[in-house]
Amino acid sequence: MGIAVKFFASMRDLMGDDRELDAQIVQQHNIKTVDDIWNYCVEGKERPANVLVAVNMDYVDGTTLVKDGDEVAFFPPVTGG
């Protein structure tokens, strides 16, 4: 099943298309947290402080543990309304 990684708005411009990290990648790269996913996707670049993160559509912080089947999203500050 793996972990689905989504980027929205300016984050998508920066990071490119959404990704699907299969179980093999997750294991090979020892991906356990949201921060691990970020580091895998950007090859170690620091996550800007204002980038927001959600796991399964709830806000979380970078230390949140992820598991097979999760959906992880990175996006910039929101500007609705």
Binding site: K6, F8, A9, S10, D13, A54, M57, D58, Y59, A73, F75, P76, P77, V78, T79, G80, G81
Partner: protein
């Protein structure tokens, strides 16, 4: 409680009238209705804006808005609430957002309407991309403070 994401233009006053008819079982129970309507401007940060694209996170946006309304219902004793938000291509003067709440008394109505709106502006996953009259596009990076 109702949360609606709309990909096409809407008339907030017509929606409000329709919704109020739908909740007619509350007639006589509410003494206050507070309404906020947000509309697209044709300027922002010193530039003329000709159009805007509003992106959202399908699933999470609705979930977050429902959470806001549930919290406001608990905090302010709302009898009903309605949140409608546009997405997609939007033109100046188009309504973007409608927030309406129904309560027994005005204090709760005013406060809840504002709190829902402020939480929506600061936490609900929507993003605006503006098209300027010069032809340039840019993501809006932050909302103005509401307080």
């Amino acid at each position: 409680m109702s949360v609606v994401i709309l990909p096409e233009a809407f008339n907030p006053w017509q929606l409000l009238e329709d919704y109020q008819q739908k909740i007619s079982e509350l007639n006589g129970k509410y003494g206050a209705t507070a309404v906020f309507v947000g509309t697209m401007r044709d300027f922002n940060e010193g530039d003329n804006v000709s159009q805007m694209f509003l992106e959202y996170y399908p699933g999470m946006t609705e979930k977050h808005l429902e959470k806001i309304c549930t919290q406001a219902t608990a905090d302010y004793g709302l009898l009903e609430s309605l949140v409608v938000h546009r997405v997609g291509e939007i033109n100046p003067n188009d309504p973007i957002v409608l927030v309406a709440v129904w309560t027994a008394h005005r204090k709760q109505a005013f406060e809840a309407c504002r709190e829902i709106m402020e939480d929506l502006k600061s936490r609900a996953p929507f993003w605006k991309k503006e098209q300027l009259n010069t032809g340039k596009n840019r993501w809006v990076e932050k909302n103005t403070k509401g307080y």
